[in-house]
């Protein structure tokens, strides 16, 4: 077992973990982050995407011990209590989900994209989401939602 300490959604977390424990299982099983989903469990689908020090990663392909000393943000960490992040609002407005299983990962991948590229083209949005699979929507409403969120965030910055 190894002692680790990290910041998860703004709060310091300390645990003793088996080195082979994956970050996704620490988040879901031990820290009740039910918004982090295990999809393919093989680094393809992106349902487990979280931010590690602000950049998107697939938490099924990161060991918990590798996140020791770092900052993890899950979908729960991007919204204030009762006040959705513009990406969450835009996903609802644009019907950018059906079953919803890919949605938290999509939102975290989109957040990474918009943090780096605040005003992306549709092509940049599609490339930014290339690590996330959705089997329901056909992606068009997801791209529209990220576009809407980018516009909302730009308006907030100006407002």
């Amino acid at each position: 077992m190894r002692a680790i300490e990290m910041i998860v959604d703004g709060a310091t977390v300390r645990r003793e973990v088996d080195p082979r424990l994956l970050l996704v299982h620490l988040l879901t099983d031990s820290l009740d982050r039910t918004g982090v989903n295990v999809g393919c469990d093989s680094s393809n689908c992106g349902a487990c995407t979280v931010l590690l020090d602000g950049r998107s990663v697939k938490s099924c392909t990161v060991l918990a011990v590798q996140a020791d000393g770092h900052e993890v943000t899950t979908v729960r960490g991007i919204a204030e209590e009762g006040d959705w992040h513009p990406l969450q609002t835009a996903f609802r407005n644009c019907h950018a989900l059906q079953c919803g299983y890919c949605t938290p990962g999509m939102i975290m991948a989109a957040k990474d994209l918009l943090d780096a590229v605040p005003d992306p083209t549709d092509e940049q949005i599609r490339e930014g989401l290339e690590g996330n699979l959705c089997r329901c929507t056909g992606y068009a409403p997801i791209v529209a939602a990220v576009r809407e969120a980018a516009d909302d965030l730009a308006a907030q910055r100006q407002g």
Binding site: S43, R55, L63, E130, G131
Partner: protein
């Protein structure tokens, strides 16, 4: 899926890595970004007894000028390579290829040295290293050595890296002023290359002064399209030269046949992608080469 149990060692510095590798040899695997190793461990295709984590070795992450070349630290992430102003200026082909690796999440974690040491025949970086004549700086308890890219790869997932050795950095030449393009054919955007072609060209007026063409997945190891390169050196930088050189791109290759493509189709792809890469690097409109 969980990896099999292993002992976890967090390396404090390079000497510590080398000492741990000396102690554990083939029982140990070095973990950098883990984007190749961890999936293998989860599928139990790799079951190292000891995992040596390089994640905290800051200076293995650095990208720096070194003796007229650029040294890319083995643990520099793909994203760091894309973002490096030094590489953009002196060896922009790195970012051109690296941005086609995996997807954003993989590029945030995966490392330049790790992907090369993995030696995947379908990986994007080995052919680039071949085309650049990159040099690998390897270290073990016994020695440090430099190995040319032409000698580093020995087969699919096989390199000359010994059980007790680690890649410290990879040095690439200063190719300021060269133009370049990478063409990758893959069934879906984040998949491995069925075939990939990276072309780098130095123009002198309307002549091609020098050219380097690397081929991905046209054999067990990355290859140079040497016949095509020879046809282009000194030629006029036009559509005719590109067409006739691209027709030679499959020569002296031994591409695999698998579920994605047989060897004949891979040779066809090599020709088509070479024409596209050269065309883009030279800013030419090359007609469709489907009939070549």
């Amino acid at each position: 899926m969980f990896p099999a149990p292993f002992a976890y060692e967090r390396a404090e510095d390079v000497d510590h890595v080398i000492a741990l590798l000396h102690e554990h040899g083939d029982e140990a695997k070095v973990l950098a970004g883990g984007q190749s190793l961890l999936p293998l461990m989860k599928f139990r295709l790799a079951t190292p007894a000891v995992v040596i984590d390089l994640g905290h070795l800051e200076h293995l992450h650095a990208v720096a000028a070194r003796g007229g070349r650029v040294a890319v630290g083995a643990a520099a992430t793909h994203q760091a390579v894309i973002d490096s102003p030094l590489l953009r200026e002196r060896c922009g082909a790195l970012a051109e290829v690296v941005r086609r690796i995996g997807d954003p999440q993989v590029r945030h974690r995966g490392t330049f040295g790790g992907a090369l040491a993995h030696g995947d025949a379908a990986g994007d970086l080995p052919a680039l290293a071949r085309a650049l004549d990159a040099e690998f700086v390897l270290a073990s308890q016994k020695r440090r050595r430099r190995v040319a890219a032409a000698d580093f790869f020995t087969g699919h997932l096989q390199t000359v890296l010994a059980d007790d050795e680690v890649v410290l950095r990879v040095e690439v030449p200063d190719l300021t002023g060269w133009s370049f393009a990478y063409e990758k054919f893959a069934p879906v955007s984040h998949a491995w290359a069925v075939v990939g072609v990276v072309a780098l060209v130095r123009r002198d007026g309307n002549r091609i002064a020098d050219v380097r063409i690397g081929l991905t997945h046209m054999g067990d190891v990355p290859l140079r399209a040497t016949a095509a390169e020879a046809a282009l050196r000194g030629a006029e930088a036009g559509v005719e030269a590109v067409r006739s050189a691209a027709a030679l791109a499959g020569r002296d290759t031994s591409p695999p046949s698998d579920d994605n493509a047989d060897a004949t189709y891979r040779r066809h792809l090599a020709r088509v992608l070479t024409a596209r890469a050269l065309g883009r690097a030279l800013d030419l409109t090359v007609p469709n080469l489907e009939t070549m």
